[in-house]
Amino acid sequence: MAMSASQMTLAGAFLALTVALGLCRIRGVSRAVAVYLPYLWTFFLVFTLIELVSVTLGIWTLAALCFLALREYFTLTDLRYQDRWGVLAAYAAIPFMFYFVQIDWYGMFIISVPVYVLLVVPFLIALGGKDPRGAVLSVGIIVLGLMLLVYCVGHVAYLARYSTWMAAYVVLAVAACDLLAYLFRARDRSPLRSILLQLLAPAPVTTGLALLLRPWTGIPVNHSVALALMIPLLVAMGCHTINYLEADLGIERDRLHPGRGQILNELKSFVYVAPVTFHYLRYVLDVF
């Protein structure tokens, strides 16, 4: 089976990331690389699987990532004993949602959390719990986790299902924004200047990436520029929001490891970018 140029590029990128990750593990690297390289590798693993092996396998690998993120989130939250069936229902929602991605039932995918999860989770909590105190908060905790970590991140799977390169562009643009934001924060600038730099400085990089990948993404120039300007703003919004929630969850930036906020921290930039970019491409550009 002959591989196309785009498939070879994707596979090459994945191999390069694998080698880089292996070297990092052996030699030890700075925190920026240690934090951002694994998720870049995971997403490129998904894209490579979609392009070279099977769309289904790629989608379900991303489902596993969402499961890990949700598990970490639930570990950090203060859920009551009575919420156990609600939590199990939230986990059970993941295969349903990714099955909707697999069979391309977008209507059901977007209403599953706001309608069905919000109906089922409180029902199960009410069935299982004798003590109603804190039930409203529990429903909020469970549904928020599902919304941010499965519904929002799940849009990457939907994007990749239609166009692997569009999804790859989003991932690379987000990675560029994250890396630049890390570098600006490390320089200890004033908060206002740091925020402005986070918003403005990635724009040339994301625009360059959009134009570079245009032959494979197929996004017109004007929309490429619009997306390239939109992504840094969405990354900043996502980071700000999740940082705020992380503070409440007790996640300490200098003690990140799996189970203590690392996965959540790595996915935070996608929370706003993935659904908004997908909707832009679907409804404004009308490509899907």
């Binding site: 598990r71 004993y81 105190r133 409440d248 007790g250 189970g259």
Partner: protein, 533 residues
């Protein structure tokens, strides 16, 4: 022999292909300190116990070759309820069965050499027989896993260790003891739950410990010495596991605990009765072992008798300005509106203290609700009686839904109607009331002795009417609203009055304002968050 080797191969295969991947996928199991196990061929592994997941997680720690050579102690009466579960546990972990609190095996029985107890049967090895089996395994160069708490304790808590582990450590000083702390299993599969939920777990492995003192010959101890050493070693191991738990302590999202609102103690009295002095003294004295707030001409917090400076409240600043204006009013009519506003703001300040400042007791110098009810006598003497006072209090506090807006009391007291229309009532009712009763003549003498400008109501006649109003309020509070209202003789010395007030509060049913007890102090969380494992 062939059967044994087949069973070992199957055990390793199940661990490698099923149990480890499944446990890792569902429960994560972040492991810290695995290096402490490296190179050890034999050990006594000691861990806290909160869940049935603890055992599979501990076996995740072990190198594969150690799995068939490691034996945990497991409760026979629990696992024998299901034949499948019993056989699975036996195959996967090769446990030493024990019947907690008894058993039919007796001390002399040998559960290693003897055939394995049958599932479903209540008979199984006693704790003594199980300990003998553990010793036999250790003598054979094998390792053991012990949960010295004896059973799965309360979620997230480490119970006191039992002495068996200390005895083994003392009897086998050459075998290292490894303390392990497991976190997260108490939430993933707590004691009462039947179905586990996927959550991250953490295992912290401490450095190996050897309990043999320099120059000591373990074999030549007397029974008493050995028992004392076992007790010492058990305590040390418990300390080690607890210290691992403390290291693992991390901040996590916690819900704000629902605290009952702080009780409001109102001190009433006519001007010159000494109520401000009494309120301040009460706030100071009640602050032993807790934090009290005084709402008087100023808001002051007390802790251990010391006044604290806190960030000022906006409502309090406005109230103080208004209070200055009230004191210079020239007629009862010009006094009425600013005083009413001042009382409403005083209620708001008390509400803000209840909501934000986490005071344990709030002492009010005067009380907006009761002042309004008592002062009605001054303005509407002809219409004021016990029934009117009862209806007024019920309307102002919103306690009685029968006293709705159509009640005649609203027609008799138009000010009340105005307050209701502006949605300024209901106001908070106090939880306890002290009325400092003095003769108006004595009160006037004290007011004149202060040398300050007299307020418009500070005449003997008006003070007498106010006193009657307050007495009516106290009577109604006790009889109609069921609130404790005590009348204190204000003509006595300050110390005597304070002592009686404290005694009265101590006899009250609410322990929050009773005799101060430092052990009951609950430090207020500044931001509603606390630190937990």
């Amino acid at each position: 022999m062939a059967a044994r080797s087949t069973s070992t191969s199957l055990q390793l295969l199940l661990h490698f292909l099923v149990l480890r991947p499944l446990t890792r996928l569902v429960f994560g199991a972040g492991i810290e300190g695995r290096a402490h196990l490296r190179g050890l061929t034999q050990f006594i592994l000691v861990a806290n116990h909160n869940s049935h997941l603890d055992l599979p997680l501990i076996f995740q720690l072990l190198p594969l070759r150690q799995i068939p050579r490691t034996h945990p102690m497991a409760a026979h009466e629990y696992f024998s309820r299901s034949r499948l579960l019993f056989r699975s546990v036996e195959l996967l972990f090769g446990p030493v069965w024990v019947v907690r609190g008894g058993g039919g095996g007796g001390a002399g029985a040998d559960p290693v050499a003897a055939p394995a107890p049958e599932p479903g049967s209540k008979a199984g090895p006693s704790p003594e027989a199980a300990m003998a089996a553990m010793r036999k395994h250790l003598r054979a160069g094998r390792s053991v896993v012990i949960f010295p708490e004896g059973t799965r304790g309360r979620p997230g808590e480490i119970a006191a260790f039992r002495r068996g582990v200390g005895r083994l450590a003392v009897e086998f000083p050459q075998v290292p003891v490894i303390p392990v702390f497991i976190a997260g299993t108490e939430r993933a599969l707590p004691r009462a739950a039947g179905v586990p939920i996927p959550l991250w777990t953490r295992i912290v492995v401490g450095p190996p410990l050897r309990y043999v003192a320099a120059g000591e010959q373990p074999g030549v101890r007397s029974a008493e010495e050995a028992e004392a050493a076992a007790r010492r070693v058990t305590a040390e191991l418990e300390r080690q596991v607890r210290s691992l738990a403390e290291r693992e302590t991390a901040r996590r999202h916690r819900r704000r605990e629902r605290r009952p609102p702080a009780p409001l103690v109102a001190v009433l009295g006519i001007d010159g009765s000494g109520k401000s002095t009494l309120a301040r003294a009460l706030a100071e004295r009640l602050s032993t072992g807790r934090r009290t707030a005084l709402v008087s001409d100023e808001v002051v917090f007390f802790e251990e008798g010391e006044s604290l400076r806190l960030q000022p409240l906006l409502a309090e600043q406005v109230r103080r300005r208004l209070n200055r204006r009230v004191k210079t009013a020239r007629s009862l009519e010009s006094y009425k509106i600013p005083k009413l506003a001042e009382l409403l703001l005083r209620d708001r300040v008390a509400g803000q203290l209840l909501r934000w400042r986490a005071a344990d007791v709030i002492v009010l110098d005067g009380c907006p609700v009761l002042n309004l009810a008592a002062w009605a006598r001054l303005y509407r003497e002809a219409e004021y009686d016990d029934d009117a006072c009862t209806a007024l209090l019920r309307a102002i506090t919103g306690r009685d839904t029968d006293v709705g807006r159509r009640h005649p009391i609203f027609r008799r007291f138009p000010e009340l109607s105005a307050l209701a229309r502006l949605r300024l009532i209901p106001l908070r009712a106090p939880d306890a009331v002290m009325f400092l009763d003095v003769e108006p003549a004595i009160a006037m003498a004290r007011i004149l002795a202060r040398g300050e400008t007299q307020q418009v109501h500070e005449t003997e006649d008006k003070l007498a009417r106010l006193r009657e109003g307050y007495l009516t309020v106290c009577r109604v509070l006790e009889s109609a609203l069921g609130l404790p209202a005590r009348i204190l003789d204000g003509a006595r010395s300050r110390e005597a009055i304070v002592a009686e007030a404290l005694e009265q509060l101590g006899s009250w049913h609410d322990p929050r304002v009773g005799a101060p007890d430092p052990s009951q102090r609950t430090p207020p969380p500044p931001d509603g968050r606390s630190t937990h494992a």
